[in-house]
């Protein structure tokens, strides 16, 4: 008898997160890490962003973006350590650290989008 595995569940989170982050993350980085801080674009100020975040769609959007992308990272990074750097003896610790971080980020994202 083989043990029931959770791999499918985590893989589907990885996969959905991969799609979401592929579509959404680059433009976020471009806008908020480069274009707006450097003043390339005229707008995108505090009041406007706050209003955007406070729409129901904005809240759901930001939560989904943050949470699924973190689970995407958790899965991929875990296997990078496993296969790439061959850190196999720490498998359980790496598992806990990766998905634990994703879970903490998810809770933080939920808290932020709900209370903003």
């Amino acid at each position: 008898m083989s043990k029931r595995s959770n791999d499918g569940f985590f893989w589907s989170l990885f996969s959905v997160g991969g799609v979401i982050s592929a579509f959404l993350i680059p433009i976020h980085v471009f806008l908020f890490a480069l274009a707006l801080p450097l003043g390339w674009l005229p707008h995108g100020g505090y009041e406007h962003l706050l209003a955007l975040v406070r729409t129901p769609v904005g809240r759901v959007y930001l939560f989904v973006l943050c949470s699924f992308s973190l689970f995407h990272w958790a899965h991929r990074f875990r296997f990078t350590l496993y296969d790439g750097l061959q850190i196999k003896h720490l498998n359980e610790a790496v598992f806990a650290a990766c998905y634990g971080t994703a879970l903490i980020g998810t809770v933080l994202a939920a808290y932020l989008v709900l209370t903003l």
Binding site: S21, H48, G84, L116
Partner: protein, 141 residues
């Protein structure tokens, strides 16, 4: 692996497996391996982008001054360099992800396989459209 099913001639000691030691840096040797590892490492930059977004939401909580301090700190040379690197890796993630879609999804029309580009291309167009929409929503105000 269950390889011990077949009855075998037992020896007193278990033979040592022959396993060639693989170097930790096996992926530095060739282009495709290196690309594979860089693709996997792009996930770190996806996580960093989320961290940035969470920090941004955190700053938004504390008012206009806190938010302008957030933007000010994003202008520091280190964070700018990290921003450029993050953009490069996340774009790499998007490109490799969309190029992978045709491998995961085989569509046949009239018994013929739809060419890979026909499956990847709509993803790239969608990516451009979604990015333009987000940029417009943010900049419009």
């Amino acid at each position: 692996m269950n390889t011990a099913k077949a009855p075998s001639a037992y020896t007193e000691f278990h033979p040592r497996w022959y396993r060639k030691r693989v170097s930790t840096w096996w992926w530095l040797g060739s282009g495709p391996y290196l690309r594979f590892i860089l693709r996997e490492l792009s996930s770190i930059f996806v996580a960093l982008s989320v961290a940035m977004t969470l920090a941004q939401l955190w700053a938004l909580r504390f008012g206009a001054d806190a938010y302008s301090r957030f933007q000010e700190s994003m202008r520091s040379p280190w964070l700018m360099a990290l921003g450029v690197l993050t953009l490069a890796f996340t774009v790499f993630h998007s490109i490799t992800w969309f190029n992978l879609a045709p491998r995961a999804l085989t569509v046949r029309i009239g018994g013929r396989r739809v060419p890979e580009i026909m499956i990847a291309l709509p993803n790239f167009i969608g990516w451009a459209a979604v990015s333009a929409l987000i940029a417009w929503l943010v900049v419009r105000g």
